[in-house]
Symmetry: C2
Subunit: 320 residues, 2 copies
């Protein structure tokens, strides 16, 4: 009998899921549509039937021990998704309660996607022997999961760890959350694009990026230009790393982690982002922390990090 | 037999200590000199002999169960004080190890003063039934103790919770720690004084504070002027509350506490500081946290909060 869990990563466009064993090996990985289901119940019914079909492909020798879900604005305590800006379903969605109707006899755990990634990092990634660390996901936005003394920090309401909404600048850039000046408006795949467009408006530096529209520009394209020596792209990475470094130093002043891991689309830029972020973090650390905090790329491969994280969430729960 | 602990608060000028019972009643409270002892061993010998004399005044029916120490740059894991800028003893001081020679059979626990205050708040103050909260001490500097899930956050190195060194402004005000732009250079008894002097330089607003030298001005005097309607003093509180509010919103984004408690000299200004801090914190909170976080004055009386906190630290240790 092979014991497995289901890891589910709820994204705005697709929902990825995987069947994962205890060693973090993904036996199956699939996805279903999120976007086209405006009705949550229909979405869930479709997801469940797809998952069950996938389980059957593994034969009879499989025991599903639990389900872990990573979702935007996921509330660990309540098992809900609350007002997630990039999902169709408004208000409070009782994800866990409704999924339990299909799987009444196994634990189902939900948290936000970055928290799930942090647990994944701890069980399968670079944080295997760490008790205190932070995972930062740099996608469309900036998510974070904070681990203190071996446990995720959930806070009073289940929503702790929103470093993407650290204040960078009073009355700064508009953020999707309704506030202004949030970190994720500066540091994320979208954030660096906004910085590129700011630099195009403020400088006369020539750049191949000046031929690309805002909607067409990706953070990967900015990386490629930077690697080609494009000065404007390089400057955008320096500015982004500067902002990130300062705010990571603030995060260190909170929980004093051993390491901070970067994950997600913008993290693929590697040293282009890591080098300035590390330099500015170090420069801004309270002296007692200097030279102690590692800034690293995630040890999880990006393709299934979210699914692995979600599965790790429930494996960890089963350990307790 | 009355069970008691010794709570010690190591300050730059004086060391206060108290003999405290389980209910947080301070049976005796005294102080010895810190400043005049350039040699740590002589300091400790004097402190120990004073403590022993004080214990004797309580008669034979007393059992000392442990000693708790709050000290600047106190390291919980190692029992050391490391490079505290306002103490005479340089480098790493093995406080607990050396004190154990005098009291070999009871637990001795040390942490930084703000962490001790947080434990005090949990055992004897306003955080009695709280699992997630932050205590901010506003004295000469700004210290903080962060509690997550009922436990103090110590981090990888024992030095977590240094919100006073959050970055307010790149290349901002010089801070005692050697960095620039730290929160405590803006929000503390010293910070608000610096803001008053900045306003005196930048504005032509009349103020009774213009008659007082920098060295003579205290945060209490600024409070008094504000209460008298002095416009410059009021503006200084508004600015200080603004800076504090934004940074508290950042702290909330880390650990999502139920409440934040303010303690210490500048907190005595009460609503003068609380009102703008609350307003700006609320305005800057990530929407999911809005309306959830209480900003309160500490439930500990200021006079012996530090001693109570240090004693609470060891009472909590004895519980575990």
């Amino acid at each position: 009998m092979t014991e497995v869990v289901i890891g589910i990563d709820v994204g705005g466009t697709f929902t990825k899921y995987g069947i994962v064993d205890k060693n973090g090996v993904c036996l199956r990985e699939k996805f279903t549509n999120t976007e086209k289901f405006t009705d949550f119940d229909l979405y869930l019914k479709n997801l469940q039937s797809e998952i069950d079909k996938t389980i059957q492909t593994l034969g009879a020798d499989i025991e599903v021990k639990g389900i872990g879900i990573g979702a935007p604005n996921g509330n660990y305590y309540k098992g809900t998704i609350e007002n997630a800006p990039n999902l169709n379903w408004k208000g409070k969605i009782n994800f866990v309660e409704k999924l339990k109707k299909f799987y009444p006899n196994i634990p189902i755990v939900l948290t936000n996607d970055a928290n799930a990634a942090a647990i994944g990092e701890m069980l399968y990634g670079g944080a295997k022997n760490m008790k205190n660390f932070i995972v930062i996901t740099l996608g469309t936005g900036l998510g974070s999961g904070i681990v203190v003394d071996g446990n995720l920090v959930y806070g009073q309401d289940g929503f702790a760890g929103e470093l993407g909404h650290f204040n960078v600048r009073d009355h700064g850039r508009e953020c999707g959350c309704g506030k202004k000046g949030c970190l994720e408006a500066y540091v994320s795949a979208t954030g660096i694009k906004r910085t590129v467009f700011k630099l195009m408006s403020e400088t006369i530096v020539e750049s191949e990026l000046r031929n690309i529209s805002y909607n067409d520009l990706t953070s990967q394209r900015i990386s490629e230009s930077a690697l080609n020596g494009d000065k404007l792209a390089l400057q955008a990475f320096e500015i982004t790393g500067h902002t990130l470094g300062i705010k990571l130093a603030d995060a260190v002043a909170c929980t004093s982690p051993e390491a901070i891991f970067l994950l997600g689309g913008l993290a693929k830029a590697g040293p282009l982002l890591l080098e300035p972020a590390r330099r500015h973090m170090e420069e801004n650390l309270f002296p007692i922390y200097k030279g102690k905090v590692k800034l690293l790329l995630s040890g999880l491969t990006d393709t299934n990090a979210a699914v692995l994280g979600a599965s790790a969430l429930v494996w960890k729960e089963l350990q307790n």
